[in-house]
C-alpha cells in the first residue's frame, strides 16, 4: 500500500516539476522596467494572428517600418530617412537608413522592403493584409533606395505603413515568427512565460539611439484591480492603460506616481442598425442622438474621463473638428422628431458588448431614451465571441454599444455591408477622393465625410475612450496619447 501512495506522490511531483518553464530569470535593477498590460499576445506572429496585443508589444520596439506614427498622430520617418511622392501620387521613393541590421545579423536593404511588402500579399493570413492590395509592385533601385508603385493614388496606404503591415522582415528571419521574431528594432525578445510575461532586452547592435532601459518586462494582468495592485505594491513600474476610471484618483493622490491622460483611436459608439426599420429613417436616428446627453453619460459611465465627440474622428486625425455640439441634448426636439417619424412608442433591443464601458453607457442611454418615450431592452452579449457573431456578422440587433479601436475607421461608413448598414454614395465618393488627393484635399474631403455622417446621425458617437497611463515618478518620456498600434518604448528615459 505504501508503495502505491508514494507512486501517486511521485506522479504529482513529476507533474509539478513540469512547471519549471523555459524562461530565464530577470534581475531587477535601475535599467529594468516592467510595464503592465491587460491583453496578452497569443503568440509573436502578427502576420497570421489578429488582435492588438502583438503589435502593441512588438511594433516599433522589435519590428520597425519605413515610417512610424508619432504620439500626435503625424507620420514621421523611421527606417526610411526620407521619401518623395510622384506627381500622379502613385510612386513612392524611399531613401533608407544606412547601416541597419536585423537582430539575426542580416543587413537591411531595399531588397528586404520588397520582400516584406510582397509577403503581406502572399504570406499573411489575417484580413488586415488587404491594406496592401493597392500596391502594384516594389522596385529595388539600389540597396538604399526602394520604390513602391501603387495601382491608384492612396493616402491611406502610407498611413497603413505606420502599422503592422508596414513592418520590415528579413527573408532569413521568418522561419518561426510565432516564437522567434527577427526585426531591426531597439529590442529583441529574450523570453516569455505564457499567462505571465514577455521579457525584451536591448539589441546591442541597434542602428539608432540605444534605449534607456536595457530590459523591459511586459507583465500581463487581465484583472484591472490586480493590475492596479501590482503598481501600488511595486510589482510593476507602469500601467500602459487604466481600464477602470474609478481607480485613477488613488494614483493621482499618491505622490509616488505620475498620471497622464490622453486620447486613443477608440470611439465608443451607440450604433444603429441603419439597414432595418425604423433606423432607415434619419429622423429616428437624429431623435435618439438628441435624446442622449453625452456629457452626462461620460460623467456617469466613465467618471468624466474621455472626450465627447460628434463624429467618428479622434482629435489626433488631421481632419478633426469639434462636432460635439451638432446635436445638443434636446429631449423635446427628440420627441417631436419621433412623432413626425410616426414612432411615438418605439421599443428597441440594445445589444451591447459585456464590457464595463458598454454596460455602464447602456444604462444611461436606456434612461435618456425612456425620457423621450423609447423603451429600451438591454442585452449584454459575451464579447468578443457572441457579440461578433450576432451583432457584427448576423446584424441581429436594433442598436449596440461597442468601442471601435482601429485608426481612421471612419472609412467603415463607406462600406454598406458593414454592421451599421449605412449606405451613402456621396460618402463613398468623398472617401475615394480623399484617398487619392493631395494632403490638403484629403483633409477637406475627410472633413466633409465626418460632417455628412454626423448630419445623417449615422451613429451616435458617445465618447472617445481615454488613454490613462500611470507610472512611477522615475519613468519619463511616456506618451499620453495611444494612437499607433504600438506601445512605444523607444522614447522612455
Amino acid at each position: 500500500m505504501k508503495v502505491r501512495i508514494s507512486a501517486a506522490l511521485a506522479l504529482l511531483l513529476v507533474i509539478s516539476a513540469c512547471s519549471a518553464g523555459s524562461t530565464a530569470s530577470v534581475s531587477s535593477g535601475p535599467d529594468t522596467l516592467s510595464v503592465g498590460f491587460t491583453a496578452e499576445p497569443a503568440n509573436f506572429d502578427f502576420t497570421r494572428t489578429d488582435g492588438s496585443a502583438i503589435p502593441q508589444a512588438l511594433l516599433y520596439n522589435v519590428y520597425e517600418g519605413l515610417v512610424k506614427l508619432d504620439p500626435g498622430g503625424k507620420i514621421v520617418p523611421l527606417l526610411a530617412k526620407s521619401w518623395t511622392v510622384s506627381e500622379d501620387r502613385r510612386t513612392y521613393d524611399f531613401q533608407l537608413q544606412p547601416g541597419v541590421r536585423f537582430s539575426n545579423g542580416a543587413p537591411f536593404t531595399a531588397a528586404d522592403v520588397k520582400f516584406s511588402i510582397d509577403r503581406v500579399k502572399t504570406g499573411w493570413t489575417i484580413s488586415i493584409k488587404s491594406k496592401m492590395d493597392v500596391v502594384d509592385h516594389v522596385e529595388v533601385v539600389d540597396p538604399l533606395h526602394a520604390r513602391v508603385v501603387l495601382t491608384k493614388p492612396s493616402n491611406g496606404w502610407l498611413f497603413d505603413m505606420t502599422g503592422r503591415v508596414g513592418a520590415m522582415f528579413s527573408p532569413t528571419g521568418v522561419a518561426d515568427l510565432a516564437n522567434t521574431p527577427v526585426g531591426t528594432g531597439p529590442y529583441e525578445v529574450q523570453s516569455r512565460r505564457r499567462g505571465d510575461s514577455i521579457v525584451l532586452r536591448a539589441n546591442p547592435a541597434y542602428w539608432g539611439r540605444q534605449p534607456a532601459y536595457r530590459t523591459v518586462i511586459l507583465k500581463y494582468i487581465k484583472d484591472p484591480t490586480a493590475l492596479n495592485n501590482a503598481l501600488l505594491s511595486n510589482g510593476i513600474d507602469v500601467i500602459a492603460q487604466i481600464s477602470a476610471p474609478d481607480s485613477i484618483p488613488q494614483f493621482e493622490n499618491d505622490n509616488r506616481f505620475t498620471v497622464l491622460q490622453g486620447t486613443t483611436n477608440g470611439e465608443v459608439v451607440l450604433s444603429f442598425n441603419g439597414a432595418k426599420a425604423p433606423f432607415t429613417d434619419a429622423r429616428v436616428r437624429r431623435a435618439l442622438t438628441l435624446a442622449v446627453d453625452r456629457k452626462a453619460l461620460l460623467d456617469t459611465a466613465w467618471a468624466g474621463r474621455g472626450t465627447v465627440l460628434g463624429s467618428m474622428v479622434p482629435p489626433t486625425d488631421p481632419w478633426y473638428e469639434d462636432l460635439s455640439g451638432y446635436y445638443p441634448h434636446d429631449p423635446a426636439r427628440a420627441r417631436a422628431l419621433l412623432a413626425e417619424a410616426g414612432q411615438p412608442n418605439l421599443s428597441i433591443r440594445l445589444r451591447v458588448a459585456n464590457l464595463p464601458y458598454a454596460t455602464a453607457a447602456a444604462q444611461v442611454v436606456a434612461s435618456d431614451l425612456a425620457d423621450v418615450g423609447v423603451h429600451v431592452t438591454i442585452e449584454p452579449l459575451d464579447f468578443p465571441a457572441v457579440w461578433l457573431k450576432q451583432v457584427f456578422t448576423d446584424h441581429d440587433f436594433d442598436a449596440s454599444i461597442v468601442q471601435h479601436v482601429e485608426a481612421r475607421d471612419i472609412t467603415t461608413f463607406g462600406n454598406p455591408k458593414y454592421y451599421w448598414g449605412y449606405d451613402n454614395p456621396q460618402v463613398r465618393q468623398l472617401l475615394a477622393a480623399a484617398d487619392a488627393g493631395t494632403p490638403a484635399e484629403q483633409v477637406a474631403d475627410m472633413r466633409q465625410v465626418a460632417r455628412t455622417i454626423t448630419a445623417d446621425a449615422a451613429a451616435d458617437w458617445l465618447f472617445l475612450y481615454p488613454n490613462v497611463v500611470v507610472a512611477k515618478k522615475k519613468v519619463t518620456g511616456l506618451a499620453a496619447n495611444q494612437v499607433s498600434e504600438s506601445f512605444d518604448l523607444t522614447g522612455l528615459g
Binding site: I15, S19, T23, S25, A42, N43, G51, A178, T225, F392
Partner: protein, 315 residues
Amino acid sequence: MALAILRRVAILVISVLVASIVVFAFLAVLPGDPAQVALGINATPELLARTRADFGLDRPLVEQYLSWMGGVLHGDFGRSYVTGEAIGPQLADRLGVTLWLVGAGMLVAVVLAVPFGALAAMWHRRFGGTAISGLSQLGVAVPAFLAGILLVQVFAVQLRWLPSGGWTPPDQGAGEFLRGLILPALSLGIVQGAVLTRYVRSAVLDTLGQDYLRTARSKGLRPYPALMRHGMRNSAVPVVTVLGLQLATLLIGAVVVERVFVLPGLGSMLLDSVSARDLLSVQGIVLVLVVAVLVVNFVVDLLYVVIDPRLRTAR
C-alpha cells in the same frame, strides 16, 4: 482488493469518457465561432471559411470528437486555435502552478483546522470553543477571492511586505517563489481551513465520547495526551473524507484565486480559453480537471486503508 481497484479504474475510465462527451457537446452549442474570434472584426467570409476548414470546424461533430479523443489517448491534446501551440505541454506547465497552489492551500487548511478543531471540541462548553466555532463560521462565509483581495490590500498594497501577485517558478529562486505563494495559499487555505475546522471539531467530539477514550482517561492520562495517543487516528477517517471532497472545491477556488493573484495556472488558462473560444484548450483543461478530481478520490480511498487497519480486511 485487486478487484476493488479494477472496479475503480473502470469507473475512472467511464467517467472520463462521459465527461469528455459532455464537455465537447456543451462547447459545440456555445454561441460564438472560434474562427471569427481568432480573425477579429476585419474578417472576410472567404477567410472565415478557410480558417474554419484549417481548424477542422467544418467537419461533422462526431468526427471532430473522435479525432480529438483519438489524439488525447496518444497524449496529443491538439493545437490551440489562438496560439497555434501544442496544448499538452501548456497544460502540464499550468497544472504545475495549480498543484503548488492547491497543495499549499491544503497545507494551510490542515495546519489551521487540526489544532483549532481539536481545541474547539475539547473546550466545547467553554468560551474558547464558542469563539473558535464563531470564527470558523465567519471563515466559511468569506469567499476565497474576498479573502484574497483583503490580504492583498493589507500585505501588498499597504505594508508592501509581499508581492500582490505574479509567479516565480521554484527553480528560479526559492525565496521569490515562496513569497509569491504565501498570500494565494492563505486566501485559499483560510476559507478551506474554516470549513475543515468544523469537521475536525465534530469528529473529535465524537471520539471524545467513545469508551476507549474514557478508559484511557481512567488510567490517568490527561485529556490532551489521551486524545493525541488514542483518538486522533479515529478522528482522521471522516476528516480525510472531507479533505478529499474539499480538494475539488479547492481546485475551483484556485480558478478564482489565480485570477486575483495573476498566477499562470489552469484556472486562468481556462478563463482565457473560454473567452477566446479556444475550444480545444477548454476541452483539454476540463478533462485534466476531471481526471484530477477522480485521482484524488482514488487516493482518498487508499488513505482510508492506511489510517484505519480494520478497513484492510473489510475489503
